[in-house]
């Protein structure tokens, strides 16, 4: 079946003139009961086409797709019917088997260089291993092929972003992240196990509204969703600062909603929107439900276990000075917090230094330009 990018595209391909197209748009404007001044908007709409999305599934649990379905704003139905054309997705697509695979080939051809590729799951890299076969061939080949023609790639979830659960030691299938398979393309990383639903759809909403990808940090994560640590936005932070902790899940501190740091909370090391956006548009997040953050947006978080051991005692996190915060537990409160604040400032500075410099440069440049105008 022939496909068209828009009504205008259809007219072009059928050899119908621009004049006829404008005439049709005029008729549509009247039909829709719009004022004649709205004609340019109708023309624009008729020229417009929903961005095509291909969503592939590798080594995953489909939890990210399920999270995507839970989005409250934008609503999932609006996303998949009015923001994008989700032309290929194992979870939601009606078709199966051969016609489905043929459809994928067709879509990749027609929209070459234009479609968005969303990938959920890690990839076992050995094509002969048989670890992840889709349509009778290795997933790793399918994803490489789809990535080649993509305009943009979104890695949804910690598995696609960092390798995730199957890549935890001893990584039985040698699973790797999308970035390690598709090295030569920009990838938007949206980690989380799963990510917050509105973070997932938020990336698409950004694209639908502004026509480009959201600004990214140095790990290719959208800044607006991964710019702060949970610790910095946590409603229990004042209890941390005051040295008030839950010591076990059934004590007075747990009931009072005090800081979960001593029960292993990874909030101080985890960049995510759990503290500000929260889940279900503000309803809760793990810490609000009494459980420490397990750091599910972080690289290799599965191997930063045991989860109930507090941060400084976890080997391999490389927290440096933050070790001193262990002293909090033994009573040297002031020292611990000072050390913590210093560390946190250092981390923040490192992370944002380049960005700040860039911002400064831009501001100065703008300043110069405006002065020149005067």
């Amino acid at each position: 079946m022939e496909r068209y990018d828009s009504i205008w595209d259809m007219y072009k391909k059928k050899g119908i003139s621009r004049r006829s197209f404008i005439k049709t748009c005029t008729a549509m404007t009247a039909l829709l009961g719009l004022a004649p001044t709205m004609l340019p908007d109708v023309v624009k709409a008729a020229e417009k086409r929903l961005p095509v999305v291909i969503w592939l599934h590798g080594h995953e649990c489909t939890g990210c797709s399920e999270a995507f379905l839970r989005s409250g704003a934008p609503l999932t139905s609006d996303v998949i019917l009015n923001m994008i054309a989700l032309e290929y997705d194992d979870t939601l697509s009606a078709a199966s088997g051969e016609p489905f695979e043929n459809h994928l080939q067709e879509i990749m051809k027609i929209y070459k260089g234009q479609y968005i590729l969303a990938v959920e799951g890690a990839a076992p890299p050995d094509p002969k291993g048989g670890f992840c076969m889709v349509g009778g061939r290795p997933f790793v080949e399918e994803v490489k092929e789809a990535a080649a023609g993509a305009a943009a790639i979104i890695a949804y979830g910690t598995c696609a972003t960092w390798g995730g659960i199957q890549a935890a030691r001893p990584n039985p299938t040698q699973a790797v992240s999308l970035n390690e398979i598709v090295g030569n393309k920009p990838i938007v990383n949206v980690p989380g196990c799963p990510p917050i639903p509105e973070v997932m759809t938020g990336v698409i909403a950004h694209y639908a509204m502004f026509g480009n990808l959201p600004p990214l940090d140095n790990k290719n994560c959208p800044k607006q969703f991964f710019g702060n640590r949970i610790h910095d936005t946590c409603y229990r932070r004042p209890f941390f600062d005051a040295g008030m902790y839950a010591n076990d899940f059934n004590d007075a501190g747990a009931r009072a909603g005090w800081c979960l740091y001593k029960l292993g909370c990874r909030g101080p090391e985890t960049y995510a929107s759990c503290g500000n956006m929260r889940w279900w548009n503000g309803l809760s997040y793990p810490i609000q439900s009494g459980h420490g953050c397990i750091g599910c947006t972080s690289k290799n978080f599965w191997d930063n276990d045991p989860f109930y051991t507090r941060l400084p005692e976890v080997a391999g996190l490389g927290l440096g000075n933050i070790d001193k915060i262990g002293a909090v537990a033994t009573g040297a409160l002031a020292v611990g917090i000072t050390a913590h604040l210093a560390t946190s400032a250092v981390q923040k500075r490192k992370r944002d230094q380049k960005e700040l410099e860039d911002k400064k440069k831009t501001a100065e440049e703008l300043d110069r330009i405006s002065r020149r105008k005067d």
Binding site: E2, R49, L50, H57, H59, E60, C61, T62, G63, R70, T76, S77, D89, T91, S93, A95, F100, H103, K128, G129, G130, F131, C132, G135, R137, F139, E141, G164, I165, Q166, R169, P170, N171, P172, T173, A175, C193, P194, Y235, A246, D248, F249, N250, A254, R255, A256, G257, W258, W280, S284, Y285, P286, S289, G290, H291, W302, D305, P306, F307, Y308
Partner: protein, 631 residues
């Protein structure tokens, strides 16, 4: 004879391939093959870790039936360490279990399964006005009244109710038309919409169901709110060994659970009941009834009519260990029913006790047709899990033509009960409870009474005895709807118990006496966690040695159902269901994918085990699946 391949099967969890051999003249399926085409190795990954962390890892076996593996995991660890959880935690877990069951079934029916029955293209032919009238008829004809347990009932009117107006259906129809006209069908693209099976339902049912598809897409998220409140998020809410983390207090402003949070849970539970009662049950029944009247989808029963298995569901109060699990259950589907399709008189029930599960003679496992070494049918105690991926029939490992059905063809193994394959799932639960009650083996609990009432209601409606309609593709789909209705009732029941218990002054949420590993003795401890998950009987098996996980095995519903055939016992549930299904057009095997989707396949669950080192899966005497590298 034509060999037809469906790969990938979409609208499921994970990677599944089906191959069927169809007689083109008669439409009869002579042979069928089900293959799990991926695995990840999570049980190996949890080894040597802190047993208190295991729930988080194994929860990631599956994000569709999220939280079920976490629940089975904490139960397994608590069983091993003899930890009895507080009442509040037990009730919260049961509310969460009911929540995921209702939610998972709703999403399965509307978003994974519906498009096997319903077509947006057919919906374009509907008259919106007639659809509005028909919606009324569907509600009147196909609702099943279920009495809620006595208790709190704050819902003044149904918050979710079908919008049966002409304008609404017209709007939906216009939207579908726009998608079709723009030639950007998105998720509806490339399906076999011209298949005659889509002509069975009148266009108005298609329009109604597509509307509900969209409506439910946005509603389902609200149903799962109890997970977000008690577990902090969904998918993958948080659990803790010994109870839950959601501390309860009416005296603290920042408490995870207070009066307002409980009210929010209650609101979500009422919504789940509204959705199941006003949408799901009537829709599923209407579709099944119209199909059954035309002789469609009442095949595909397969193994369901021959042998089904369950563990028991919804323990009423905290239980001591796996031995006490079944006796504490409100739904006592712990056992096997054989030959249900022959009628109640011929149906044979065999109990499955906690002791049986420990008995290595009860369950064996066969890896002959799975991509592991050692072709012998091994007792799980002696099981080995050396991967031996052999590719397709011609030994091609990267590009398959047909799989090698006489040899190895799946990452899923074949679990057996007393040497025989079994089907598990909501259908199994209903068959077992119905058989036990009608044969007078048990006096029904209030929950079992609901189940019997539901079956009798449907039998009357379809004018068919249970042994005719239950073991079928339509029966499996209807049983899942009934199970969702029961789950919503369970949520309510345990919510009431939770509130009443908190009202007595008990705010305990976790038993932390054995929280610190320093309170455990060194040595070896074994446990098993049981749970009737949305897709059926689930068991997690743990061996803790010197405070670390020595071994871990998860035996999941889709392993039972999607397994390769066994040389002695024959085909597993998927394969037998396909063989039992008539195919109208071999090139468009809609009936085949419909039959398999009626099981709600969850492949990441079924094929998740990997152990590269030979014989490292040494097992324990509580584990009938020993060393098998269960998939």
């Amino acid at each position: 004879m034509k060999r037809v391949v469906v790969d990938p099967v979409t609208r499921i969890e994970g990677h599944l391939r089906l191959e069927v051999e169809v007689d083109e003249a008669s439409g009869k399926v002579n042979d069928a093959l089900s293959s799990g085409t991926a695995w990840r190795g999570i049980e190996t990954i949890v080894k040597n870790r802190d047993p208190r962390d295991v729930w988080a890892y194994v929860q990631r076996i599956c994000g569709v039936c999220t939280s079920v593996h976490a629940l089975a995991a904490v139960r397994a660890v608590e069983d091993a360490l003899s930890i009895k959880i507080p009442k509040n935690a037990h009730y919260v877990r049961n509310i969460m279990a009911g929540t995921i069951t209702a939610h998972d079934h709703i999403v399965h029916f509307y978003h994974l399964h519906a498009l096997d029955w319903v077509s947006p293209i057919e919906a374009l032919k509907a008259d919106p006005k007639a659809t509005a009238a028909m919606q009324d008829t569907v509600l009147n004809t196909y609702s099943i009244p279920v009495k809620n347990p006595e208790g709190y009932d704050f819902s003044a009117y149904p918050k979710a109710f079908p919008k049966a107006t002409t304008a609404y259906y017209k709007d939906i129809q216009d939207k579908i038309k726009q998608l079709v006209d723009s030639n950007q069908l998105g998720i509806f693209a490339a399906n076999w919409w011209d298949h005659p099976a889509y002509q069975i339902l009148p266009p108005e049912v298609h329009l109604m169901a597509v509307s509900h598809y969209l409506n439910m897409l946005d509603k389902q998220r609200e149903i799962v709110i109890p997970h977000v409140i008690f577990g902090g998020k969904n998918p993958h809410p948080h659990y803790v060994v010994g109870g839950m983390s959601c501390a309860i207090s009416m005296n603290d402003m920042n408490a995870p659970v207070n009066s307002q949070r409980l009210a929010a849970v209650e609101t979500a539970i009422s919504l789940a009941a509204d959705v199941v009662n006003s949408f799901y049950v009537p829709d599923a029944l209407a579709i099944a009834h119209i199909h059954a009247q035309k002789g469609s989808a009442i095949d595909g029963g397969g193994l369901a009519g021959i042998r089904v298995l369950g563990f028991g569901s919804y323990p009423d109060e905290p239980f001591a260990g796996h031995e006490d699990f079944a006796s504490a259950a409100l739904v006592r589907c712990n056992g096997v029913v054989e030959d249900f399709a022959q009628g109640l008189n011929s149906a044979k029930y065999t109990e499955l006790t906690g002791k049986d599960l420990e008995d290595s003679a009860v369950i064996t496992e066969n890896a002959k047709h799975s991509w592991y070494e050692n072709n012998d049918a091994l007792h799980p105690w002696d099981g080995e899990t050396d991967p031996n991926y052999t590719g397709d029939k011609n030994g091609n490992k990267e590009k398959w033509e047909y799989l090698d059905k006489d040899n190895k063809y799946s990452w899923i193994k074949t679990p057996k009960w007393r040497g025989r394959v079994c089907e598990v799932g909501p259908l199994a639960r209903y068959i077992i409870v119905y058989t036990k009650v009608k044969k007078g083996i048990i006096t029904p609990t209030w929950a079992e009474e609901i189940m019997i009432g539901q079956i009798d209601h449907v039998s009357k409606l379809l004018n068919l005895p249970p042994e005719k309609w239950l073991p079928s593709t339509a029966g499996r789909t209807v049983a899942r709807a009934l199970d969702a209705q029961l789950a919503a009732t369970m949520e309510k029941y345990f919510f009431d118990k939770l509130v009443k218990n908190i009202g007595t002054g008990d705010t305990n949420i976790a038993n932390t006496l054995k929280w610190e590993p320093s309170s455990w003795t060194n040595g070896e401890f074994k446990g098993v966690g049981l749970y009737e998950a949305p897709r059926g009987a689930l068991s997690h098996w743990i061996v803790i040695k010197d405070k670390k996980v020595k071994n871990y095995q998860a035996v999941v519903p889709t392993t039972w159902n999607a397994c390769p055939h066994d040389d002695q016992s024959g085909n597993g549930a998927y394969e037998l269901s396909m063989i039992d299904t008539h195919v109208a057009i071999p090139d468009k095997p809609l009936e085949i994918v419909r039959a398999v989707r009626s099981f709600d396949p969850c492949l990441a669950c079924a094929a998740h085990v990997y152990d590269s080192k030979k014989k490292t899966l040494s097992m324990v005497n509580t584990d009938p699946y020993i060393g098998s590298g269960k998939v």
